[in-house]
Amino acid sequence: MSTTAEKIIGTLPDARGHFGPYGGLFVSETLMEPLQELREAYERYMQDEDFLRELDEDLANYVGRPSPIYHARRWSEQLGGAQIYLKREDLNHTGAHKVNNTIGQALLARRMGKTRIIAETGAGQHGVATATVAARLGLECVVYMGAVDIARQEANVYRMRLLGAEVRAVSSGSKTLKDALNEAMRDWVTNVDNTFYIIGTVAGPHPYPAMVRDFQTVIGREAREQMQHQTGRLPDALVACVGGGSNAIGLFYPFLDDQDVKIYGVEAAGNGVDTGLHAAPLCAGKPGVLHGNRTYLMEDSDGQIIETHSISAGLDYPGVGPEHAWLKDSGRANYVAVTDDEALAAFHDLTRIEGIIPALESSHALAYAKKLAPEMKRDQSILINLSGRGDKDMHTVAAREGIEI
């Protein structure tokens, strides 16, 4: 691999939020000034020692960081190739990587004097992570969630309500994550004076893709050190699932300049990319503009956003973070897709072989690693971001297999 490759870390986005042709600031005029305010606050506090100390303390004592790296020996043995390591984001407080970001944004909201938090959620993990930090900081919290997602993630809806959040069902459009995002934007436009919008993924208008990435890179920073400490070297490949792409960018980003580390983002192929029923904009979509940024989208020939299909609510999104779009075009990362069935098989594998029940989202990453490992040597390693735990998916998996619980 080239050692003269240009450095990526620290160079993107540009001042106006562009990752090459992607990203940017495509919102209605009412939000331009609030986004400018947010940008200034984020830039200021990311240099502020007091803020960073508060964030680090919360990540350590409230979230439980650093999360461990676990060598999945039995599974690696059975696959007969590369050694598989798991970055255990499932062990974080609230059970997924989402809280790394909500803590950061909620602390920022408090510093900005905002008293009300809103969020969108798909699987409910980001909603729960937001409701959790809002409860802890005593902030009012409203979470928008598609009516379809509410039906398939009842337990998370209840958790959010227990935490004191108001969960508002969104019944427009496809009634899933994208529509929840539309509705949250509408709320923000209306209540912009006292409200902070915590976006859960690396999409949306600038500065969200960069800000959410910066809060999630704690995953990759830790993992880079831990792998060197535990195995004496960097992993040969990274694998993470990509819906909007926050857990993936969080893992990938600190490794971008390590040209020998191969990077794989795994999208949801649903019933199969060739069936059209999937959620894989990077593998099968086209560039366009949605939710404030230019990126790869699932859209029809008229530019209308089309419905996505995935067993995993957290991956059921027609867009993807603009930095992933850029990483794809630049060739630094590879984007692939696995089907619902493949993800489910990997879900069972990890559960039965390693005693870890993964989230269906993360199961997509596991499923791809399962294909990749046998093609690699035994002294090579794959680091997978196990972005969340599977407790929330019990009903989905059981229903899929004809079991009532």
């Binding site: 495509f26 000034e33 934007m185 509408r186 209306t190 366009g288 209308q304 956003i305």
Partner: protein
């Protein structure tokens, strides 16, 4: 002189303010739209704002979002909307038509193709809700020399510097969003509108329209005292929605709303 310029100078000469109704193209069925545009003009509309349906209308309230959904059930595309404008132009070559919508349908068509087809169809202005001037240079370039004006929104949150940037990029008229919120919201505050219009007029000679939150003849009249143009959308689209199953009655219902607004505005 463009149709927009001609219309505004004609109104100025007679001491009247422009009434700009908004309807979504293809709502509730595609073949009614050109008729409705004519009905609006005959009831007293000066400029037509035609909404281009989009699956994810982030800046719109529920009323206009549902209008988009009804139109999309009939797969009304940007190309279809331009054909409607073409047909309207065969019947009315004076009333300016402004397309209002979101960027993605234009992106996928390509800026050059879009600008060429819009000009050919007889479109006069484009208002792309999610395209601020900072990202809009390329589209503006494609529209240049084709008689198409880029119309921009100004919001209550826009700072004086931004108002200047926007007005410098804008053509035709500028559109002041009278409330923080989505289309169809309430709480229009005349005092804030008045002071913001003063800021806008300080940096531009373009006519200034006001919209979002204008529900009835009384508000239309009050706003027309301050602005050069009054934009009314959700109040009309909710009538369309109520009569979606009886589309033959929609024209008449819209005429009533526009006629009463026209009357109230002209009495000011």
């Amino acid at each position: 002189m463009s149709r927009l310029e001609a219309r505004f100078s004609q109104l100025k000469a007679t001491g009247k303010k422009a009434l700009i109704p908004f309807i979504t193209a293809g709502d509730p069925v595609p073949d009614i739209t050109v008729d409705l545009m004519q009905d609006l003009v005959s009831a007293g509309a000066d400029i037509i704002e035609l909404g281009v349906p989009f699956s994810d209308p982030m800046a719109d309230g529920p009323v206009i979002q549902r209008a988009s959904e009804r139109a999309l059930e009939h797969h009304v595309s940007l190309r279809d909307v331009m054909q409607m404008v073409s047909r309207f132009r065969e019947l009315d070559n004076e009333t300016p038509v402004v397309l209002m919508g979101y960027l993605n349908p234009i992106e996928i068509m390509g800026y050059e193709t879009f600008a060429a087809q819009a000009a050919e169809a007889g479109v006069d202005g484009i208002l792309v809700v999610d395209l601020p001037p900072e990202e809009g240079a390329e589209l503006l370039e494609a529209m240049k020399g084709r008689g198409l004006d880029q119309i921009y929104l100004i919001a209550p949150t826009s700072t004086p510097e931004r108002i200047k940037t926007i007005c410098d990029a804008a053509g035709g008229f500028v559109y002041y969003v009278s409330v923080k919120g989505v289309t169809g919201a309430s709480h229009l505050d005349l005092q804030t509108v008045e002071s913001k219009l003063r800021d806008i007029r300080a940096v531009t000679n373009l006519p200034v329209g006001v919209g979002f939150g204008i529900k009835d003849a009384q508000t239309a009249a009050a706003v027309s005292r301050l602005a050069d143009a009054v934009v009314v959308g959700s109040a009309l689209v909710s009538r369309v929605e109520a009569l979606a199953e009886e589309p033959e009655k929609i024209g008449r219902a819209l005429e009533e709303v526009i006629a009463s607004m026209r009357k109230a505005m002209d009495e000011v």
